[in-house]
C-alpha cells in the first residue's frame, strides 16, 4: 500500500480513497454536476414560464421538473457541496491528519452517485418521475403517485444514510481530532457551524427516513398512516416532513454562515467580531429550528394556540440571525477591505440573505401568511436564502480555497465577471417573484394569467443569465486547474489566519501528520 505517501494511480485512487482531500474533491465535483443538472431543470421551468400558455412541456412533466429541481438542488447540490468543503477544510482547520472515520467517509460519498443516478432515471420510467413537489405531501405522493415513487423512496433512504454517516464522521473528527490547545472556543467558525449542522443532520435525517418508510408502507403494504379513509391523517405527513424539513434548511444555511465568517475577516484583515456570540447565535438557531416547523403549515387548520406558538417561535429566529448579520458587518467596520471575488460573493451573500431574512420575517407573521402561503412570494423568499444564502457562499468558498487546493490562482477578472453576472441574473430572476406572489400567483403552476406575464418574462430572462454565468464559473475552475498562475505562499491571502494557511500551497496529500503547535 504505497498510498501512505501519495495518491494511488488511476481510477482506484478515487474508488478506494480514504483521503479527506480526495473525498472532498469528489464531493465538490459531484455536487457541481448535480448543480448543473438541477439548474437545467430550472431552465426548463423558466422556459415554460417565459410566456403564458403551454409551449414547451406539458403540466405532468412540468411537475416532475419542479420536483426534481428541488430534490437535486437540496440533496444533490447544496448538501454534498458543503460536505465536500467540510472534508477538505475541517481536518486542515483543526490541525488533524484526516477525518476520524476515513473508510466510512469513502462509503458516504460513493453512495451518492448511484443514488442520484437512480433518482434521475425515474424520469425515464413509465408514469414519469416524482411529480409531487420536493415536499412530497401525501396523498399525492402515496395513493396518487406514479410507480416510480418507490425508487424515489429508496433514493431518499440512501442519501439519508450517506448524510448521517458524513455527519457522524464530522462530529467524531471535531470532537476527537483537534490539535492540542485548540479548545472548542478557538475553533474556526466554519468548523463550529459544521459541528452544529452535523448534530442537526443526525437528529433529523432519521425522521425523514421515517416519513418515507411510512409512505412505502402506505403504498405497498396496505397501511394508512397518511390516509384518512383508513384512520390516518394526511396532515401527519406534513408535521413529520417539516420536523425534518425546517432543520434541513438550517443544515443548508449554517455551513454557509461558517464560510462567510471565514471569508469576511480574511478580506477585512480584522478578526471576526463577536466570535462567542456567533457560536451562541448559531446554537440558538439550531435549537429554534426544532420548534418552528409548523410555520410551513399555517393554512393547514391548526388550533389557534399552535398557530400562535409557532408564530412567536419563528419570529424569535430573527434575533440570533440579526446578531450574526450585525457581527459580519461590524467585522468589516474599520477593517482594511479588499474586494476579491470570494469577498464579493460573501458580501452579496450577507446582503441578499438578509433580504431573504426580511421576507422570512414577513412570512412568519401567521395572519399575513394566509396571503403569502404557497404563492410565488414564498418561492422568492427561499431562493434568496438558498441561492444567495447558500450557493453564493459556496462560490465564495471555492474561490477562497481553490488556490490552497490546487496551488493555482483563479482568474480574478473572470471571477468578478461571474460574480456580477450572477448577482444581476439572480436578482432579476427572483426579485420580481415577490411581486407576482403578492399579486396572487400560486407556486408550482405551469401556466398563468396574463397579468403575471411581464414579471415572469423578466424572471425567466434573469434565470437564463444566472444559469449561463455558472458555465463561466465552471470554465474558470477548469482553467485554474489547467492554466492557473501557480501560487506557493502558504498564506495565499494576506489576511488568512486559520490553520489551513500554515500548510504549504498546494496542500500536500497528507497534512498535519504531526499536530501543529498552537500559540
Amino acid at each position: 500500500m504505497g498510498a501512505h505517501h501519495g495518491p494511488a494511480k488511476g481510477l482506484t485512487r478515487w474508488l478506494f480513497t480514504t483521503n479527506h482531500k480526495d473525498i472532498g474533491t469528489m464531493y465538490l465535483w459531484f455536487s457541481f454536476a448535480m448543480f448543473l443538472l438541477g439548474g437545467s431543470f430550472a431552465m426548463i421551468i423558466r422556459a415554460e414560464l417565459f410566456q403564458p400558455g403551454l409551449q414547451i412541456v406539458q403540466p405532468e412533466f412540468f411537475n416532475q421538473m419542479t420536483t426534481m429541481h428541488g430534490l437535486v438542488m437540496v440533496f444533490g447540490a447544496i448538501m454534498p457541496a458543503f460536505v465536500g468543503l467540510a472534508n477538505w477544510m475541517i481536518p486542515m482547520m483543526i490541525g488533524a491528519p484526516d477525518m476520524a472515520l476515513p473508510r466510512m467517509n469513502n462509503w458516504s460519498f460513493w453512495i451518492l452517485p448511484p443514488t442520484f443516478l437512480l433518482l434521475a432515471s425515474t424520469l425515464l420510467m413509465e408514469g414519469g418521475g416524482p411529480n409531487f413537489g420536493w415536499t412530497f405531501y401525501a396523498p399525492l405522493s402515496t395513493t396518487y403517485a406514479p410507480p416510480s415513487v418507490t425508487f424515489f423512496i429508496f433514493a431518499v433512504h440512501a442519501m439519508g444514510i450517506s448524510s448521517i454517516m458524513g455527519s457522524i464522521n464530522i462530529i467524531a473528527t471535531v470532537v476527537n481530532m483537534r490539535a492540542p490547545g485548540m479548545t472548542y472556543m478557538k475553533m474556526p467558525m466554519f468548523v463550529w457551524t459544521w459541528l452544529i449542522t452535523a448534530f442537526l443532520l443526525v437528529a433529523v435525517m432519521p425522521v425523514l427516513a421515517g416519513a418515507v418508510t411510512m409512505m412505502l408502507m402506505d403504498i405497498h403494504f396496505g397501511t394508512s398512516f397518511f390516509s384518512a379513509a383508513g384512520g390516518g391523517d394526511p396532515v401527519l405527513f406534513q408535521h413529520v416532513f417539516w420536523f425534518f424539513g425546517h432543520p434541513e434548511v438550517y443544515i443548508i444555511i449554517l455551513p454557509a454562515f461558517g464560510v462567510v465568517s471565514e471569508v469576511i475577516p480574511t478580506f477585512s484583515r480584522k478578526p471576526l467580531f463577536g466570535y462567542d456570540s456567533m457560536v451562541y447565535a448559531t446554537s440558538s438557531i439550531a435549537f429554534l429550528s426544532f420548534i418552528v416547523w409548523a410555520h410551513h403549515m399555517y393554512t393547514v387548520g391548526m388550533p389557534i394556540a399552535g398557530e400562535l406558538f409557532f408564530m412567536y417561535a419563528t419570529m424569535l429566529i430573527a434575533v440570533p440571525t440579526a446578531a450574526k448579520v450585525f457581527n459580519w458587518i461590524t467585522t468589516m467596520f474599520k477593517g482594511s477591505i479588499t474586494l476579491e471575488t470570494p469577498m464579493l460573493f460573501a458580501i452579496a451573500k450577507v446582503f441578499l440573505f438578509t433580504v431573504g431574512g426580511f421576507s422570512g420575517l414577513m412570512l412568519a407573521i401567521a395572519p399575513a401568511d394566509f396571503q403569502y402561503h404557497d404563492s410565488y412570494f414564498v418561492v422568492a423568499h427561499f431562493h434568496y436564502t438558498m441561492v444567495a444564502g447558500a450557493i453564493f457562499a459556496l462560490s465564495s468558498a471555492v474561490y477562497y480555497w481553490i488556490p490552497k487546493w490546487t496551488g493555482k490562482m483563479y482568474n480574478e477578472t473572470m471571477g468578478k465577471a461571474h460574480f456580477w453576472i450572477s448577482f444581476i441574473g439572480f436578482n432579476l430572476t427572483f426579485f420580481p417573484q415577490h411581486f407576482v406572489g403578492l399579486a396572487g400567483m400560486p407556486r408550482r403552476i405551469p401556466d398563468y394569467n396574463l397579468m403575471f406575464a411581464d414579471f415572469n418574462m423578466m424572471s425567466s430572462i434573469g434565470a437564463f443569465i444566472y444559469g449561463t454565468s455558472q458555465l463561466l464559473f465552471l470554465f474558470n475552475i477548469v482553467r485554474t486547474i489547467t492554466h492557473g498562475k501557480p501560487v506557493s505562499d502558504p498564506k495565499v491571502w494576506e489576511g488568512g489566519t486559520t490553520l489551513e494557511w500554515t500548510v504549504p500551497t498546494p496542500a500536500p496529500y497528507h497534512t498535519f501528520t504531526t499536530p501543529p503547535e498552537l500559540k
Binding site: 484583515r269 393554512t299 434575533v319 440579526a322 468589516m332 396571503q371 426579485f431 396572487g440 406575464a453
Partner: protein
C-alpha cells in the same frame, strides 16, 4: 407585434417601476392587474388588517434594511484597503452585542401584538349567516350550500378557459385560467363560513380579495370565513399542488346584493327540483346523447380527449368498456378506478347526467351501440351496491 413591443418597453422600464413600487402605499384596485406589485387589501375587514400588517412589517424591514445595509456599504467603501491601511483590532463589545440582541426582540413585540389580534379574528368562525361546503377535486371545486330548512344545493365549478387558448392557437382572454363555468355566489355584508375539504388529494382554496386561504384535506373539514363589503367578481386559484392540472382549477366568487343572491338561490333550487323530476323521466336516445355531449366536454374530455381519442385516460372510441357490457361501463363511471386518475363520478354528477354521459360514450366517436341508460337505471345501480 404592437403588444409585444409595448411589453418589451414596459420590461425596460421595470427597474424603475420596481423602485416606485417600494414607496407606493395603497389605492390598489381590488382586482389583480398587470404590473401589480403588492398584496391586495381586498374587500373584507380582515383583508385590510392583513394588508396593514403586511405593510407594517414591510416598512420595519425597509427601515432596518436601510440602516443595516447603509452601515455595510459605508464600511465597504470607507474602509477599503487603499483608504484604510491599518485595520482596527477590536473583536468584541459585550454591551453592543447585548443591545443588538434586545432591540430586535423589542421590535418583534410590535409585530407580534397586531398579528395576534388579526389571527384571533381569522379564527372566529362563529355566528355565520351562511355555510358553504367547499370540496376540492382533481381538478375542480364543488360548492354545497348548506340549507338547514331543506335540500342543500350543490354544483361543480370547472375551468372555462378553452384548450385552444392554453395551446396558444387562440388569443387569450383577460380572465385566462381564472374563469369558471359556475361561480360561487355569496351575499354582500353577510358572514359566510366556508367548510373546506377535499375528495382526493390536498388542495387549497385561495381568493386573495377575500383574504381566505385554507387547505382542503381529504377526510378533514377546515373552517374559514369572510364578510365581503363590496359586490363584484373576485378570482383565485388552488394554492396547494394537487397533480397535473393544479394550475387549471380556478375559483370565481360572485359577491352580490342579498336580493340577487336570493334570486340566484331560487333558480338553483328550481334547477335541482327539475333534476329530481327528470329522474323519473324516460329520455329518448337523442336527448341523452345531446345532454351527454356537454357533460362529456366538462367532465371527461380533459383526460379522455375531445373526440374520445384518449390522453391521460384511456381512449373511449372503440374501447372494450364503452362497447362492452352496460353494467361494467356504468360501474367504471360511477365508481371510478381506484388507484388511477379515474375518479368515481357517482358522487360528482347527478343521475341524469350520469345516464346521459354513459349513453353518449356508447353512441359517439364511432361507438354505435345504440343502447341507452335512464336516470332510474343509475339510481338502481347505486342502490344495488
Amino acid at each position: 407585434m404592437y403588444l409585444q413591443a409595448k411589453r418589451l418597453f414596459k420590461l425596460a422600464l421595470s427597474p424603475v417601476l420596481m423602485l416606485l413600487s417600494l414607496f407606493s402605499t395603497g389605492a390598489w384596485a381590488e382586482q389583480a392587474e398587470r404590473w401589480q406589485t403588492n398584496m391586495t387589501p381586498g374587500i373584507t375587514e380582515v383583508g385590510h388588517q392583513i394588508y396593514d400588517l403586511h405593510m407594517w412589517v414591510f416598512y420595519i424591514c425597509v427601515v432596518t434594511g436601510i440602516v443595516v445595509f447603509g452601515v455595510m456599504f459605508y464600511s465597504v467603501f470607507a474602509y477599503r484597503k487603499e483608504r484604510h491601511q491599518e485595520p482596527a483590532t477590536f473583536h468584541e463589545n459585550t454591551r453592543v452585542e447585548i443591545a443588538w440582541t434586545i432591540v430586535p426582540f423589542l421590535v418583534l413585540l410590535f409585530m407580534a401584538v397586531p398579528a395576534t389580534k388579526t389571527l384571533i379574528q381569522i379564527y372566529d368562525t362563529d355566528d355565520a349567516d351562511l355555510d358553504i361546503l367547499i370540496t376540492g377535486y382533481q381538478w375542480k371545486w364543488k360548492y354545497e350550500y348548506i340549507n338547514p330548512n331543506g335540500d342543500n344545493i350543490s354544483f361543480f365549478s370547472n375551468l372555462l378557459t378553452d384548450g385552444a387558448e392554453i395551446a396558444n392557437t387562440e388569443d387569450k382572454g383577460s380572465n385566462y385560467l381564472l374563469e369558471v363555468d359556475e361561480p360561487v355566489v355569496i351575499p354582500v355584508n353577510k358572514k359566510v363560513r366556508f367548510l373546506v375539504t377535499a375528495n382526493d388529494v390536498l388542495h387549497a382554496w385561495w381568493v386573495p380579495a377575500l383574504a381566505v386561504k385554507r387547505d382542503a384535506i381529504p377526510g378533514f373539514i377546515n373552517e374559514a370565513w369572510t364578510k365581503a363589503t363590496e359586490t363584484g367578481v373576485f378570482r383565485g386559484q388552488c394554492a396547494e399542488l394537487c397533480g397535473r392540472n393544479h394550475g387549471f382549477m380556478p375559483i370565481v366568487v360572485n359577491v352580490v346584493e342579498e336580493p340577487q343572491y336570493e334570486a340566484w338561490l331560487g333558480e338553483k333550487q328550481a334547477a335541482a327540483a327539475e333534476i329530481k323530476e327528470l329522474m323519473a323521466k324516460d329520455f329518448s336516445l337523442e336527448e341523452l346523447v345531446e345532454r351527454g355531449k356537454s357533460v362529456y366536454t366538462s367532465s371527461c374530455a380533459a383526460c379522455h380527449g375531445a373526440n374520445g381519442e384518449g390522453g391521460v385516460g384511456k381512449a373511449i372510441a372503440g374501447s372494450p368498456i364503452a362497447t362492452g357490457a352496460m353494467k361494467e361501463h356504468t360501474a367504471r363511471v360511477v365508481d371510478g378506478v381506484p388507484g388511477t386518475a379515474m375518479p368515481a363520478f357517482g358522487s360528482q354528477l347527478n343521475e341524469v347526467d350520469l345516464a346521459a354521459v354513459i349513453t353518449y360514450q356508447r353512441n359517439a366517436f364511432g361507438n354505435n351501440m345504440g343502447d341507452m341508460l335512464q336516470p332510474v337505471d343509475i339510481y338502481k345501480f347505486k342502490k344495488g351496491q
